[in-house]
Symmetry: C2
Subunit: 634 residues, 2 copies
């Protein structure tokens, strides 16, 4: 097998420096299993679903209308351009993974429609700037102009790195040049209410080699936290405009905004050698994970402002846990993993992907959660397949939303998901995520490293790595040992040895057929929340490997409200699809008067019986149900 | 003492029928103590505070501007007319309680400004209907036109019942006649997004004897729940437009809307003899109290839509508990008490008044809570005294709000608070709330009943009732025995006898000086929440009589997050102002990684020490503090 490397063949994040380097996108090929299946479903279904919906409700049509120069009614909220861009990004990654003439043709036609709407000076937004619209940059708080253009830049970067250029890249460069002129150091001192332009500009700078874009990203990051945005009801932390990025110690405010900004700050710090800024974001990540993150990896505890709550304020029932925030969290963790090489970032990516991200799509890829509760108190309704939904309050997955950032975000994430599976260093290859894939790449020192990885992860904890080339030089093959595991062993040439720590490294000259097997014990376990998380005091959850499990009323046979776990109960593990837990049904009479009193013991009406739990990410696929992850201990 | 009764001397609610009848407002006079002090502070401070703020920010000025006929910029949100009306209502009740030439003059001048803005056909709203404004009734969902006019009607009813008429009454009658024409059975089939017009129309019908107003109220109640309002993001339950009132079994959606509507539905049911409608609202009250009400009596668990949550969804930290919802809850309970005579309604009024309502004003009456949390996680900030606040997110009481429904609502409530203290029946006088007051009234059968009541309630459980007139006929004097109490005794002529049930009645011919003493044991006690309230599992609260207590970090000396109560701990009661509880400070190291794991016991770093709790209603008066009501049990 001969791999052709070009400088443009790369995934979503390509820092100039860092402990680890991302692989060119084509160097890691999914060959089967969960992620290959989902990537195929994304190509076959999700991408088409997004195209169809946006065509139907006029979001792509906005570009056509804008191109005519005549007045038109703009369809959708002001930032729907960004959905088209995220779809283009998804298409670009997918085309980079798997050539597809039909998709390529649809992509080109959509790019042409976008390009036609660009103004002569480079500005491109369908909701601002025309005589009958609001003026450009007249609403930095809510206009989402830079946010939308940021997604355009990201889409162009995807194309640049998978196809080497093209019309969308030309469009994006003209946009970026225009932004440098308007907002550069001599320009308008402003920031966008919704971060996104920051990582986008750095990535475009990396992909094009144009340093001005990195400098502008830095300018936006540095301007933030100085009150450039007008006061709003939710407070300036909503915008992260309360404290300069380098002075903050935790993420706060609107979760997606906070995470996109932090990702951009890492990019800026890496490209400018700003160790202080990098340390600040590392600290923010650590504090946010320790005190403001759900068991699923989800972030965002408030519906009202889609925001982080205070430390340890993590209600499962009112969890917002926006799908886009989970995606954004991985964008941040991935950047920190590349920069530091620390395995904890890959651990969170794994947890977040398998639970908080992949809970969003319905099994058929045609409906999505926007917010993701961990405690469904009332049986949801099934939104109609042919209607645009609100944000799916108390409902199951919906085909499309009035504000529909999540489906396209999910699509671009799945299309490029393998980009977070492995990295290289000067003399090593690091496997962070497992599954069925082939990796064939070149280390920093020029050594070729090629392996076949086989694993039914995370349903199984067995990872088999077989060398697929005869090496001349030693390769340090590093495998992640997840923080949730204990008792992992590594079998090298038939000899199983216990492994300690969060990675294990085998350094040798590999010959074709050399086999390494990592065995990570995966069995269902009880998980107890920190006692400061008030909302889940006195409860336990069940996990298996990185998978969080949930109880649905469909399995319990009663409303999950009435289920309690006997003290000391342990889950029974018959495999990933058959995890059971002994529970009782609690009978509590309805209060007469207020539900507060001297305290009486509730009655339990049945002896412990085993009920099947389902992986949290799969809940709600069988119809309306009440559901909870944290179950009260009797 | 000679009391002059006129048909117009009455309080806020005067049903045509019912188990109990309200007293004319002047028949019960507060003579001292907590409520007399607050009523004086309301007269001296709160009313003036509201006048000053509304003058300063142009809300009263809207009427002047509207009267000119010239275009003007309307100040404030579209329903600020209603704040002026609630202020006028507060002034009217206060003038009914205590003549005051200066207040009377201010009242008259404000009425003149309102009256000048009325259109020729009776319509009166400063934000709609002029050529440069949105057309009348063009936004039934959010326009609040009927809502605002409802408050005008209520203000007029207060004047009619305390002064017998006047210019505002004439204005209100013209408004109501106009509404009958526009929305009556042959008119426009619509309802207002925010209920309020319903109880207002019934009250105006009662006060004027014009049955058409009652009929229109009935029409509005009956129209609701049939989808007349356009769909919104929060769902139609926000507007109570999801289910007809008579078919619903629990209150839901926006809490203030739900409660005002329910109050109006009781009014309609009473005036039309609609037993089915009445039973429906009784059921809604019972289910709402049992499953959707906070320990303080507060209602509304969601910030996002200011709404009730699902059953048992009562997070203390994200409690919304809007002050206006607590006031509205008492409006509903009071109507149900009058209709049914059942003491449980007076119990909830007591709890709600002392905790959920009176937590709102700062001790000096110059700042207010809008939302009322039971768990302040971060030390609040003190809003500036001279700035209009948002809804006081994470802040202490604020002097005024952009949407400022609560201060004027509180003012009208305090000005007429004694109206809920006692009622009469054909041959009896019922005392529902205690304090220092004189009651001198006439029973349904014409018998005069006059008593002096003395009590430091609820700080003390001793209530002394002394007859102040020599009667000719027997009077059935009924005293409420609160549901939170046990072991109450009644001393009649020196003989203490145990009382059972929720009321105790002494029927006799009273002579001046006859004395009855109700002794209700009041001591601090531990309260345990229903196990289905997930958000407070494993915690206890402390109550004393109807007062809920809270722990402030100012007293604990540490963030309340770190305080735990030893299992089995009991409060130590040195009186209402010195209730103490043994606590430990818990030391939990910050999580490394996620705050979930196999479960480790936190360390307790100090032996139990007693800390002072404060009545919940008084928290935050001494500056920023973390605070919680429900304390985790170790």
């Amino acid at each position: 097998m001969t791999i052709t490397h070009t400088t443009v063949a790369a995934g979503p994040v390509v820092p100039s420096t860092g402990a680890l380097r991302p692989l060119p996108l084509g160097d890691l090929r999914l060959t089967g299993g969960y992620w290959a299946d989902w990537q195929q479903r994304n190509a076959d279904t999700v991408i088409r679903h997004c195209e169809t919906w946006m065509e139907r409700i006029g979001w792509t049509g906005n570009f056509d209308a804008a191109a005519t120069g005549d007045p038109f009614d703009h369809a959708g909220i002001e930032f729907v351009d960004s959905e088209v861009y995220k779809l283009l990004e998804a298409m670009a990654w997918q085309l980079g993974v798997q050539p597809d003439d039909d998709l390529a043709d649809r992509y080109d036609r959509l790019v042409d429609r976008v390009a036609a709407a660009q103004d002569a000076d480079g500005y491109l937004h369908t909701a601002f700037g025309r005589p009958w619209q609001r003026p450009r940059w007249s609403d930095m708080e809510w206009g989402h102009e830079l946010y939308s253009m940021g997604h355009l830049l990201q889409a162009a970067v995807a194309r640049l790195r998978t196809a080497g250029g093209g019309r969308l890249v030309d469009v994006a460069v003209r946009v970026a040049d225009h932004l440098v002129e308007v907002f550069g150091s001599d320009g308008r001192e402003a920031v966008c209410g919704h971060p996104e332009i920051e990582p986008a500009l750095v990535e475009l700078g990396r992909a094009t080699g144009d340093r001005r874009y990195v400098d502008l990203a830095r300018t936006f990051v540095e301007r933030r936290g100085h009150g450039l945005l007008a006061p709003i009801e939710y407070g300036q932390e909503y915008f992260q405009d309360d404290v300069p990025v380098r002075d903050a110690d935790v993420l706060r405010g609107h979760a997606v905004r906070a995470l996109y900004l932090a990702a951009g700050a890492v990019d800026v710090a890496v490209e400018t050698g700003d160790a202080e800024l990098l340390r600040a974001v590392e600290t923010q990540w650590a504090n946010t994970v320790a005190k403001r993150t759900y068991l699923t990896g989800a972030m965002g505890a408030h519906h009202q402002d889609e925001a982080f709550g205070a430390d340890f304020e993590l209600p499962p029932d009112r969890e917002y846990g926006e799908t886009c925030a989970a995606i954004a969290s991985n964008m941040l963790s991935w950047r920190l993993l590349l920069e530091t090489g620390e395995s904890k970032y890959a651990d969170l990516i794994e947890r977040t992907l398998h639970n908080a991200v992949m809970v969003a799509p319905r099994e058929d890829g045609r409906a999505f959660f926007y917010a993701n509760t961990m405690h469904q108190r009332v049986e949801g309704t099934v939104p109609p397949e042919d209607e645009v939904s609100r944000r799916a309050l108390s409902s199951l997955r919906a085909p499309w939303f009035e504000v529909s950032c999540c489906p396209t975000n999910l699509s671009r994430t799945i299309a490029s998901v393998q980009s977070v599976f492995a990295t290289v260093s000067d003399d090593g290859l690091q496997l962070h995520q497992y599954g069925d894939y082939e990796v064939d790449t070149v280390l920093g020192d020029g050594t070729r490293a090629a392996f076949s990885v086989r694993s039914d992860w995370p349903r199984s904890g067995r990872v088999e790595v077989v060398a697929t080339t005869d090496g001349d030089e030693p390769v340090a093959l590093r495998l992640r040992v997840p923080s949730w595991s204990s008792g992992a062993t590594l079998d090298v040439a038939g000899q199983a040895v216990p492994v300690e720590g969060d990675t294990v490294t085998v350094r040798r000259v590999f010959a074709t057929g050399d086999r390494i097997v990592l065995e990570v014990p995966v069995h269902a376990r009880i998980t107890v929340p920190d006692p400061r998380i008030d909302a889940v005091r006195g409860t336990v959850a069940v996990e298996r490997g990185p998978l969080v499990y949930a109880l649905e009323s469909l399995e319990a046979g009663v409303d999950v409200r009435d289920v309690v776990v006997p003290a000391g109960a342990e889950p029974v593990d018959h495999g990933a699809d058959d995890v059971r837990l002994p529970v009782r049904t609690r009978a509590v009479p309805d209060p007469v008067g207020l539900p507060y009193g001297a305290g009486t013991d509730p009655l339990s009406v049945d002896g412990p019986r085993e009920v099947r739990l389902v992986p949290y990410a799969t809940w709600g696929n069988r119809g309306p149900s009440t559901m909870r992850v944290f179950l009260p201990v009797e």
